[in-house]
């Protein structure tokens, strides 16, 4: 938890390093198939399987492979060319999604509700978001809205101390909606710019837990009719196609406005992002590439696509 590294160019390296494992396998695979080879049906099937293995999902993988094949089928193609083309296709799909979380300066505070399934990395993401926006000179306040998980409040308090953001917390098992209400009132009094509200992890198929989130939103609206201004869904890069169901459910129930994808520093490839971008078109505000306070970075479609295909240096 260094939390002090802060070189602007460093993050690219970090992302590339984080994605290295995933990309190296994918790119090795692509080279294996296409180094000196005719792009025939078998090669295409293998290409498709490589994309599937990166969690793009069978449908997206099929479509991408077809697009790549369109002008190149039955021609001798270089491995680099195919990779570049794939990266371009993927970047084109992801490009509209690359929108950072931009707090509205007119809002005092801009309220962000952070939601997600258990263990996706909500609390850590809030800690990192706090760091990011503190560094940009905003007054950030955190709300320990996960009143269910043991020691979640303590965890957020530690992040508060690390980033110099005050933390509003209640008693264990207290009503999270009530807590959010008073936190928003306090944030208004204190003139905070950004209010980041943590919530308990919940599986998207538990109707009652999702209803609790809706209640939080209703209660927030009593203080500020426009709140929450952002609802951020935190997704673990390791999940597979269930990410689609997750986004769908959270979007329907609490009107998610953007995503943060975490744990991209592992072998998980985050390919499901491509499928998500096609289907929902939600902004990807940031990606998590480590446990440190600085390991949250803006999402850059081209960099991501190139890194995924092993083209980033």
């Amino acid at each position: 938890m260094s939390g002090t590294e802060s070189s602007g160019g460093g993050w690219l390296k970090r992302l590339a390093a984080g994605l290295k494992r995933s990309s190296s396998r994918l790119s090795e695979g692509v080279s294996g198939i296409l180094t000196k080879r005719r792009l025939d049906a078998a090669a295409l099937a293998e290409l498709e399987e490589l994309l599937i293995a990166a969690d793009l999902g069978p449908a997206t993988a099929h479509e991408l492979a077809q697009r790549i094949a369109k002008d190149r089928f039955d021609k001798d193609v270089g491995e680099r060319e195919v990779r570049e083309a794939l990266a371009q296709e993927i970047a084109a799909i992801l490009a509209p999604a690359a929108r950072a979380l931009a707090p509205d300066p007119a809002r005092k505070p801009h309220v962000v509700l952070v939601v997600g399934v258990n263990g996706s990395g909500k609390t850590t993401t809030i800690g990192k978001l706090a760091k990011l926006h503190r560094d940009e000179g905003r007054r950030v306040m955190l709300v320990a809205g996960d009143t269910f998980r043991a020691a979640a409040v303590e965890q957020l308090k530690i992040w508060g101390a690390r980033t110099g953001a005050p933390v509003v917390a209640g008693a264990p098992n207290a009503d999270a909606a009530g807590l959010a209400f008073s936190a928003l009132e306090q944030a208004r009094r204190d003139g905070a710019d950004l209010l980041l509200i943590d919530t308990a992890g919940r599986l998207h198929n538990k109707a009652d837990l999702m209803a609790q989130l809706q209640k939080m939103i209703r209660v927030l609206a009593k203080v500020d009719a426009s709140a929450p201004h952002s609802v951020v869904l935190v997704l673990d890069a390791g999940i597979g196609q269930n990410a689609l169901q997750q986004v769908e459910a959270f979007k329907e129930m609490v009107n998610v406005t953007g995503l943060v994808v975490t744990k991209l520093d592992g072998t998980a490839r985050g390919g499901v992002l491509v499928a998500l971008a096609r289907r929902f078109g939600l902004p990807v505000h940031a990606i998590g590439v480590g446990e440190g306070a600085d390991d949250l970075r803006p999402f850059d479609a081209t960099q991501f696509a190139r890194a995924l295909l092993g083209l980033a240096e």
Binding site: P58, H204, K206, D208, Q245, K263, G266, T267, E291
Partner: protein, 461 residues
């Protein structure tokens, strides 16, 4: 969690069932769909390929028994192969979980090491396992968190330990994991504990420094079981994770968490196939008692839409207290059944996981479950009815006759429902009590068998 796959395969086989004979083309078509379904269910590609190859080998040239349709034959072959891949034994009834549970046959304190990625549910699972060992196996358990990475992780285990009434090792700030582990073994030995559970920090299988650390913990404590805790939602990465941990730490088993989600859970197949290690337990909820043994054939049965009837019966037996049921039956017989009893009935239904989870276990009901989910009549109705009763005074609960129009209005606004809702519940309640009195004359067996009619809930047809 496997419901969506169930639906997929159901469709395919529905088509197959309609044919008289199974051609090789039919097998191929079915297997193409199976392959796609498995991939969409996040089963890892190499595992899918292997599975399809094995299944095709078995399906082609297989003699179709006269008494079954070719479609049923393919279902059986796919099912058996699924069970086998998930680690079950096929044939001879084969319903038992494979060597299943946690192995405690070692010199105490038996050390169990929990490893996994960040956010897979290690700490919660450790506490669940602690509770299970204490309650079910009557073991004296000590838990220790070696997680010095995530803020407040050690505190989390300490709090969970209190909830589960399982001892946790006192926290010494700043101590490195290997030292905590050694201290934990000493403490477990001194206190005469049977089992020591070591929760570790979440780590990536490719993080060599942290993997070396957990290997050092392993060498210092000589665990009898090393369990990989993995999320049922995991995608293709499941193979890398399982293989990585197995190679670098050496696993003895897998615990699959968040099985109560709606992920199709292909990770179960992947990790089992890649490591050859059994899936020992599954996490099915946020509460500390939501940890269950893994039954390969039941889950394979669910995949194929055959339903998990055994699971349903077990769940019912676990949740419904026999004594309560008898007491209730007596009350009902005497016509003393009141609103409080109704609430306890509603709660019992909810405790069983609501209608949705019960229906999910019944055969051939997958499609209907979707409709019910769409209609949202499951939990919310039970909750609303409970809220109505909770908004009544004690006197009203004992005697519904008190409920005049004004009281009903008050109850409706108190419970956030409408007067019509209240009326409906009262009507149901009156129907129920009338029916009970009649049945009381038939003897209480009638009631026990028929449950409580008139709740107006299911009517699954």
């Amino acid at each position: 969690m496997f419901d969506s796959l169930t639906g997929k395969l159901g469709e395919i086989f529905e088509r197959l069932r309609k044919r008289a004979a199974l051609t090789p083309a039919d097998v191929d078509e079915a297997l193409r769909e199976v392959r796609l379904a498995l991939l969409e269910a996040d089963v890892a590609l190499p595992v899918v390929k292997d599975f399809i190859a094995k299944t095709r080998e078995k399906a082609v040239g297989q003699e179709v028994l006269r008494s079954v349709t070719p479609g049923q034959m393919v279902i059986k072959i796919v099912h058996d192969e699924l069970v086998r891949t998930l680690g079950g034994r096929v044939g001879s009834g084969g319903s038992e979980a494979e060597a299943g549970d946690i192995d405690l046959a070692a010199v105490p304190p038996v050390v169990i090491l929990m490893v996994g990625l960040q956010g897979s549910g290690k700490t919660t699972t450790t506490a669940k396992l602690g509770l299970r060992l204490r309650q079910r196996d009557r073991k004296k358990v000590l838990m220790a968190s070696l997680d010095v990475q995530r803020p407040a992780a050690q505190e989390q285990l300490a709090v969970l330990g209190q909830q589960a009434e399982v001892k946790t090792l006192p926290i010494v700030a700043g101590q490195p994991p290997v030292d905590i582990a050694k201290r934990a073994v000493m403490a477990a030995r001194l206190e005469g504990c049977d089992v020591l559970l070591l929760d570790t920090a979440g780590r990536l299988a490719i993080d060599d420094a942290l993997m070396a650390e957990v290997a050092a913990v392993r060498d210092a404590t000589n665990p009898h079981e090393t369990l990989l805790v993995a999320d049922a939602m995991t995608g293709q990465d499941a193979v890398n994770v399982a293989r990585g941990f197995n190679e670098k730490v050496g696993l003895t088993g897998i615990v699959l968490t968040r099985v109560d989600g709606d992920a199709r859970g292909g990770a179960a197949l992947s990790m089992r196939a890649v490591t050859g290690r059994p899936i020992k337990l599954i996490g099915v909820g946020e509460k500390l008692d939501a940890l269950e043994p893994f039954h390969p054939d039941r889950i394979a049965g669910r995949i194929l839409g055959m339903g998990d009837v055994v699971g349903l019966v077990e769940k019912a037996a676990e949740t419904i207290e026999r004594e309560d049921a008898e007491k209730l039956a007596k009350k009902a017989q005497k016509g003393q059944f009141d609103m409080d009893d109704l609430v306890s009935q509603l709660r019992q239904l909810r405790r069983m996981g609501g209608l949705g989870s019960m229906l999910g276990m019944l055969p051939g009901i997958g499609q209907m479950q979707k409709q019910i989910a769409a209609a949202k009549i499951d939990e919310s109705l039970l909750r609303r009815q409970e809220a109505i009763v909770m908004s009544m005074t004690k006197a009203e609960r004992r005697n519904v006759k008190l409920l005049n129009a004004s009281r009903r209005r008050r109850i409706a606004s108190g419970s956030g429902t409408s007067v019509q809702d209240v009326n409906r519940l009262v009507k149901q309640f009156e129907d129920m009590t009338r029916m009970m009195k009649q049945m009381g004359k038939l003897g209480q067996k009638g009631l026990m068998r028929h449950g409580l009619p008139g709740l107006g809930l299911g009517r699954p047809r």
